[in-house]
């Protein structure tokens, strides 16, 4: 039962991290208000897509080739990573002046194009995690008997409530820390998440041999920090930590951070 709770919480938090940060930002900036509709639209579309993806995973996955599935998952991760970086960059660039620019009509088209990218980002973030939750719950509920069902439903609800509690804490923190600090912290969180998506996506390509690993694995730090459980697993899911990284993926990760930092520096000017 605690598995239901934990998995619902974990899968929801990863999606809510993206949704929560964007929500706090859109709320805090008057010019961001029009974007809220796209945000919730993305959540709704993501939930709907979750159901469809879950059916695909349960039904079609056995017919689709292994490589095909890997390409699909890699594609989703890489697109989401690119969208996060683009969003962070855009916020840095237009954050302060967005309201004025919108009023003078200068940023209207830019803003609208970006609300659609925000919609897509939220849809992918929710669908990615949501589909797994659906598969997990579907199977668990299907096998539950009588009294168990109530327990599972309760555990699922508690897990979801815990996820929203985490979401609420995030919103609360935006009220207690200065806007500037909140912005800095969430930028780093989002970039860590984007880096993790990048690592995950590229590793899928390495595992099917599309991308060479070069030196694979480059080292093994699983004795120091194991990535298959506990803190290491958390860091693996949210920040892209790997105990046994491939050289090519590590290089891509370094390029990602160098490019992101220089891009943000340029945007701040």
């Amino acid at each position: 039962m605690e598995q239901v709770l934990f998995i619902v919480w974990r899968e929801s938090v990863e999606a809510l991290l993206v949704v929560g940060i964007l929500y706090a930002w859109l709320r805090a900036n008057p010019a961001g208000r029009p974007g809220l509709r796209y945000l919730w639209g993305g959540v709704a579309a993501g939930l709907a897509l979750s159901g469809v993806l879950a059916l695909l995973i349960l039904g079609v996955a056995t017919f689709l080739s292994d490589d095909g599935q890997q390409y699909f998952q890699a594609g989703m991760s890489l697109v989401a990573a690119a969208l996060i970086v683009q969003m962070v960059y855009w916020m840095r660039r237009h954050g302060r002046t967005l309201k004025r620019e919108l009023e003078s009509g200068l940023a209207y088209n830019v803003a609208r194009a970006n609300w659609w990218r925000l919609f897509l980002l939220v849809t992918i973030a929710v669908a990615r995690e949501g589909s797994e939750t659906v598969v997990f719950l579907y199977g668990t509920i299907a096998t539950a008997q009588g009294g168990e069902l109530l327990h599972y439903a309760m555990a699922g609800t508690v897990g979801l409530a815990a996820a929203f509690g985490t979401f609420w804490l995030l919103q609360l923190s935006s009220r207690f820390v200065t806007w500037r600090l909140f912005f800095r912290v969430t930028e780093v969180l989002l970039l860590l998440l984007a880096g993790s998506l990048l690592v995950g996506g590229l590793e899928k390509l390495v595992s099917i041999g599309t991308l060479p690993g070069l030196v694979d694995p480059l080292w093994n730090s699983s004795a120091l920090l194991d990535d298959s459980g506990g803190l290491g697993k958390l860091l693996a899911d949210f920040a892209g930590y790997r105990a046994q990284p491939a050289l090519s993926v590590l290089l891509a990760w370094l390029v990602f951070w160098a490019a992101s930092v220089s891009l943000l520096r340029r945007a701040a000017r």
């Binding site: 689709l64 292994d66 598969v135 299907a142 595992s207 990535d227 298959s228």
Partner: protein, 108 residues
Amino acid sequence: MARSGALAAVLLLSAVGARAADMPVFKITIRDGTISPTRIEAPAGTRFKLEITNAGKSPAEFESISLRKEKVLGPGVTSFVVVNPTSPAQHVYFDDFHPQAKGVLVIK
């Protein structure tokens, strides 16, 4: 349309099957929070196949971070992943929906 889709899937499957036929196969069974075997030894430098069966009543997610494999399996589903040649190493695999179910794949 549906028929041609099914045909394509069958052709694709048999193509994959033909290519995979000469690979060593290791079978893994997941059953509602247990995974067996808990230790597999494979030779380094050869492609091999992990055939994973979910014999339980609840869904499972076969996962190995260091092998870079993730596969969601509904109850009663059998699927496989192909592992490309790697150097000697130890890889932990587990059921991400029941994280206490763990095993280790030793490549040597």
